[in-house]
């Protein structure tokens, strides 16, 4: 059995706004084992970032952890005092963000910022920290690290900045690195390099990683296990191979089939999920995904939300239907688009009366 590093139990994080209480994280339980790579996927607003910020107790106002447990190596993070939480951040868990430009201070040298991350935690002496900066930049494969420590962030490219952020995250040798959409702002070739770097660091240093992303392909590339979130809830969880080959929750299935694969010739239309994610101040009754689910049955609407139940070894899903009970014809029907064929016919008639093709007849002279 792998040793558990971090365990969330029934975590509720809410935002108290003038519009009402937003249940951003609504009873999330998950764990990360030592040295493991976990992917947390879902669309914007599903609560994946708020889960991560809850772990570090970095929630923006007016957000609050309302109930639940965050256990790191047996210590409850929600009960730590200010001193302890400062020590916990960086030393135990570090986080890197999507936009490496806004996370670095533009008026301070990159090397100094990494050094500062270390001296703030009293783990390294000032001189040890200084030599370690170059070592860290080398570790994240920044070329000519000796001279680039003296550069300012604007002198770094986007990929280099993200490398510097990772170096800063690793500075105090945390056992867990949370990466929130670390490559979304980067070009594809750079994205590939960063993901490769994270893989190598996971192998070399044994740092556990929690990758928060909407990109299923990145999860397939980096992670061993995946948690799928929807409307503040975990809807499915399991080993990456199983989740990708046999997803059981319709939301997971839709997410996987809504993105084209570069290695496949176009065979088929994409699955599109109708409607929009729910308003978290007033989520729908029953299963929260039911208004958008292509395989919805009456039970999903009237009964309380289904529990997370084991659907295969190590795989759990929160669904009354489960994909293994859905037939091919219903799956094909999920590949809709918004187009109204009726309106298209009408418009074509209108446009035929007022053709746009007058360019040829009038532009002659």
């Amino acid at each position: 059995m792998a040793q558990t590093l971090l365990r969330l139990e029934d975590l509720h994080t809410q935002f108290f706004t003038s519009r009402g209480v937003v249940k951003a994280v609504d009873g999330v339980s998950l764990h990360v084992d030592v040295g493991e790579t976990l992917g947390v996927v879902g669309e914007s607003g599903c609560g994946k970032t708020m889960t991560a910020l809850s772990i570090l107790r970095l929630l923006p106002e007016p957000g609050r952890i309302v109930s639940g447990k965050i256990e790191f190596r047996g210590r409850d993070v929600t009960k730590m005092d200010d001193e302890e939480i400062r020590d916990f951040r960086g030393n135990d868990v570090a986080m890197i963000f999507q936009d490496p430009m806004t996370s670095l201070n533009p008026v301070t040298k990159v090397g100094f910022q990494i050094e500062e991350a270390m001296t703030a935690h009293n783990r390294f002496t000032a001189s040890a920290a200084r030599t370690r900066v170059v070592e860290l930049l080398k570790r994240v494969r920044v070329p000519a690290a000796e001279s680039r420590v003296n550069d300012y962030p604007h002198q770094f490219s986007g990929g280099m900045r993200q490398r510097a952020m990772i170096a800063m995250g690793l500075a105090n040798e945390p056992s867990l690195l949370i990466a929130d959409e670390p490559t979304t702002a980067l070009d594809v070739t750079v994205q590939a390099q960063i993901i490769q770097l994270m893989k190598q660091l996971n192998r070399e240093l044994g740092t556990a990683m929690m990758l928060i992303t909407h990109n299923m392909a990145l999860v397939a590339s980096l992670c061993q296990r995946v948690v799928v979130m929807y409307a503040g809830r975990v809807v499915e969880e399991g080993p990456v191979e199983q989740i990708f080959s046999s997803p059981q929750h319709p939301y997971t299935w839709s997410l996987l089939r809504s993105v084209p694969r570069v290695d496949e010739a176009r065979k088929d239309r994409l699955v599109s999920i109708r409607g929009l994610p729910p308003d978290l101040t007033n989520p729908p009754p029953g299963c929260k995904f039911h208004p958008r689910c292509p395989f919805v049955i009456d039970r999903c609407k009237v009964e309380p939300e289904p529990p997370l139940e084991e659907v295969a070894t190590n795989q759990v899903a929160r669904c009354w239907v489960l994909m293994r009970n859905v037939n091919e014809a219903d799956m094909a029907a999920a590949k809709t688009s918004a187009l109204s064929v009726e309106a298209a016919q009408k418009l074509k008639q209108d446009m035929a009366i007022q053709p746009a093709d007058e360019v040829h007849t009038n532009a002659g002279g």
Partner: protein
């Protein structure tokens, strides 16, 4: 002229399978205060887009793909070169004639938040192009607006609402409806789905495909996401530092990439399948994209190319975009297909 009279084309330009032709297009942006220096955003591009097809244009940030789109839609004047739509040179058009040609080509932009005027109702946004081109009577236009909203799957009674009342995906549908309002034959989609969540992205991709089928549209689809581009396009052109380095059928470019840059680009795209991911070999490019102010000599990819002969032909002679590999495939590389 004489040759044309002796052997007249069967029926003028209409039979030309190519709708849009870019010939030797250049766009240099002079840098203020630095006499003689300029950003060579588009640096000699030849391209053809055939009627009814989707041409995918891919490349990393700064490769010039958006500038090229703006040249093609005559939103920016070319520094040199010729762009013809339906046989008509659009680079020399001014005034009323330019307006007429604009009606045939429309654009869908990346950011559905920035590309709709927040102070206009959706109805006004959709009616504006109809007003501009004087299409139909007032009542015709109002009806057309309702049909357009219905076309893209929005409630036609929403025409009095403002853009902020819609989600990102809905706004992008409004942007699509606006582009279709004047019955164009050619639409440029500049990163039209990049800013959207994956499930919404699929809605828009399916909608674009259906619209193309219904209205017989020709698309130039610009994106950095090669998977989306492969899914939507018939042919794909790859740009690097202001130049097209490879064009081919969407399947050939993936199965048999001829240019080392195309290969590297394809190798860096993750696939949502852990079994494939374990085997995927990443071709890492060294260094960074050079400055378009002073691109490298010879082949401009030679500074990062894994197979370049430097010093040698690659750093001295600029390769031309020539047929390599499959039928209809061209690559600008001295050692095409040898990576």
């Amino acid at each position: 002229m004489q040759a044309a009279e002796k052997n007249p084309p069967l029926t003028a330009v209409k039979t030309d399978p190519v709708l849009l032709r870019v010939e030797g297009a250049f766009k240099y942006f002079p840098m203020s205060g630095l006499a003689g220096l300029s950003v060579r955003a588009v640096d000699g591009v030849d391209l053809e887009i055939r009627r009814g097809e989707t041409l995918g244009l891919v490349g990393e940030s700064g490769c010039g793909k958006s500038t090229l789109a703006r040249l093609i839609t005559a939103l920016l004047p070319v520094t040199a070169g010729k762009i013809t739509l339906d046989g008509q040179d659009i680079t020399r058009l001014r005034g009323r004639r330019l307006r007429r040609i604009r009606r045939k080509m429309q654009m869908i932009f990346q950011d559905p938040f920035a590309s709709l005027d927040p102070r206009m109702t959706v109805g006004d946004i959709l009616q504006e192009p109809l007003d501009n081109f004087g299409i139909g009577t007032g009542r015709d236009r109002r009806n057309r607006v309702q049909e357009l909203l219905r076309l893209v799957g929005l409630n036609p009674n929403f025409n009095n609402r403002y853009p902020h009342e819609f989600s990102g995906g809905q706004r992008q549908r409004i942007g699509i409806a606006r582009a279709l309002a004047v019955n164009p034959s050619f639409i440029v989609c500049d990163e039209a789905v990049s800013a959207l969540d994956v499930s919404i992205q699929a809605q828009i991709i399916n909608l674009l495909q259906d619209l193309q089928h219904e209205f017989n549209l020709t698309y130039l689809f610009i994106a950095h996401d090669l998977a989306v581009v492969r899914h939507l396009s018939d042919r794909i052109a790859v740009m690097y530092l202001g130049k097209v380095v490879e064009t081919a059928d969407r399947n050939d470019i993936y199965d048999r990439p001829q240019h080392p840059y195309t290969k590297a680009l394809l190798s860096s795209i993750p696939v949502p399948d852990p079994a494939v991911e374990r085997e995927r070999a990443l071709i890492t490019l060294k260094g960074e994209i050079p400055s378009p102010v002073n691109p490298p000599s010879g082949c401009r990819f030679h500074t990062r190319c894994p197979i370049a002969r430097v010093p040698g032909v690659c750093s001295e002679v600029e390769p031309l975009l020539e047929p390599h590999g499959a039928r209809d495939q061209s690559a600008a590389c001295h050692f095409a297909g040898q990576a």
